[in-house]
Symmetry: C2
Subunit: 329 residues, 2 copies
């Protein structure tokens, strides 16, 4: 059996089964956006890591050095925000080719540093080593008040399923970049590329949500709406029904449907690296949700049909959906 | 200017100068074995990361999968022990080729897990991604009582310079492995390879030292005795004199001098990845040091000659040494 046969999530599941870990300080280990550690009675530590590899996660034909650095940090902040926490400090591990220009490394680092400053934490150290291809691994430490901690588990039958922002632009943008090869040849409004090249984490939204509502589960969309919804369903041991017309398909993606291989809805369901928050709330909180000044759509409901995702349209026509998130192997 | 021109330490120095970071929770940022964070009044957090890249840090011709996993964790524990702390939890980021056998990944992970268990912490999560060459990045979190925290800075003129264990085997072992190419063709006692293939961190020794003596500065030997001594001198703004005959040159290296390119002393001075502790103590603590049940050699003294390393032999002949630690670019 080779990795390409079991995929990223198959491998992680295998680690979980083969090496169950018990440790009184680890509240949550493998299987959520962050590990949760107890070192202090008042706040839990959140601990996460995410890597970006040249040609796998980014292409030097489209990305500037600064954008690569920024995105590497953003994906980690997104994991902290998915748990309801705030970042404290990060370490940066850089695998770099020896022929790389020092100025380019500084631009990369500058991108990381700008995002860290913007979100009020600092890069506290790291490691550099030789590598043919550029590889960036960030380890980010955050903290969360125990009452604000949100997990993938916790969604209950009848809860409402919600998502921030609009969906689909990250994958659609990437497809367009691949189609036109170079940014200089890109004929459209570059706004459609923002989510892929210059994403933002939903840290502010996460803070507002956990402070104002009973959020029962939460995750960030890095593997696609369906892929990440499936993670919630798996950990919460429930199912979900999506309201087709309520899914916030990006207006920009809709406008350029003729240039894309798939329907706008397809991108909204499968696009990874969106860094939006997918979460569930108690039904009674719907009015409180509407009062919050953040863009949120109620896109479905939690059902008792274990790990089953259905979609219903306004005419009542139902179909079962298969997850197809981005799998790295 | 390219990375190969400025080297690993030149790059880190450039980061420090270009992006000075100020953050009230960061007690120590770039420039020591770990970052030191204050999130709790009673204990400081230690935060470190270290990577291993195929062909750069290990070769599949010599290492078993389990040994690679173990060494990846050991190098990080060594950083925690250099600061006087204890490990709490780690994250593992794995870049893996898609054709890699799942069983081999499990052996790799098993090696990491065994070391984590041995030192009573757990792997709490991580990330996996596609990579042509295997790349392993560990982020390790530890903690330390503020009074036990040791830094590279703190050595004072007149302090004694000490080192645990014996030195030279890691680099000598690697040279022999390269010479004989495959482990199956290795004609000597394999004990000489232990430090390179199966290193141990000096966590127990660190605990004993910080609890019983006034250790004024400490570092682990990952870049070679001279390279790491230089880090202490730089951060403490002092110099050092080494007593040539007191340097604990590995007896096994001495035995096989005829097979090596350099003198045994050369290996003791320059061999990286030794994971021994290099530290300074107050002169008055020499008697207390002798009573501790750990192998330690007093190898020199701290002087006021800024960043200058001299070596004196028993006849009183003195010479100035140049650092030549392992530089990754």
């Amino acid at each position: 059996m080779r990795l390409e046969n079991i995929g990223e999530f198959g491998l992680i599941e295998l680690f979980r089964k083969s090496f169950p870990s018990k440790n009184k300080r680890v509240i949550l280990g493998l299987g959520d956006d962050c590990a949760v550690l107890k070192t202090n009675p008042k706040k839990f530590l959140l601990f996460t890591t995410d890597s970006m590899m040249e040609k796998v996660h980014f292409d030097l034909n489209y990305f500037t050095w600064e954008q690569i650095g920024k995105k590497a940090i953003v994906s980690n902040i997104s994991d902290i925000s998915a748990m309801g926490g705030e970042p404290i400090s990060c370490l940066v591990s850089l695998g770099l080719p020896k022929k790389m220009k020092t100025d380019d490394v500084l631009k990369l680092y500058s991108g990381m540093n700008k995002i860290a400053k913007l979100f009020r934490f600092s890069i506290s150290g790291g490691d550099v080593f030789l590598s043919d291809k550029i590889v960036i691994t960030i380890a980010l430490l955050g903290e969360v008040k125990p009452s604000f901690l949100k997990k993938r588990s916790g969604a209950k039958t009848g809860d409402l399923l919600c998502v921030t922002g609009e969906l689909g632009e990250s994958q659609a943008g990437l497809e367009l970049l691949k189609k036109y090869k170079k940014l200089t040849k890109f004929p459209l409004n570059k706004e459609i590329l923002r989510k892929h090249l210059n994403p933002s984490p939903r840290l502010k939204e996460s803070k507002i949500l956990v402070r104002n509502l009973k959020v029962t589960s939460m995750i960030d969309i890095s593997d696609g709406l369906l892929g990440d919804l499936f993670h919630i369903l798996e950990e919460s041991k429930v199912g979900a029904i999506l309201f087709k017309e309520k899914i916030p398909v990006s207006k920009r993606v809709k406008k350029i449907t003729h240039l894309l291989k798939n329907s706008p809805l397809h991108y909204a369901l499968h696009s990874g690296e969106e860094y939006e928050l997918l979460f569930t709330i108690k039904r009674k909180d719907i009015e409180s949700l509407k009062k919050l000044k953040i863009k949120v759509s109620v896109i479905g409901e939690i059902t008792d049909k274990l790990k089953k995702i259905e979609m219903v349209d306004k005419r009542g026509k139902k179909r079962v959906l298969k997850k197809r998130g981005y799998v790295h192997f």
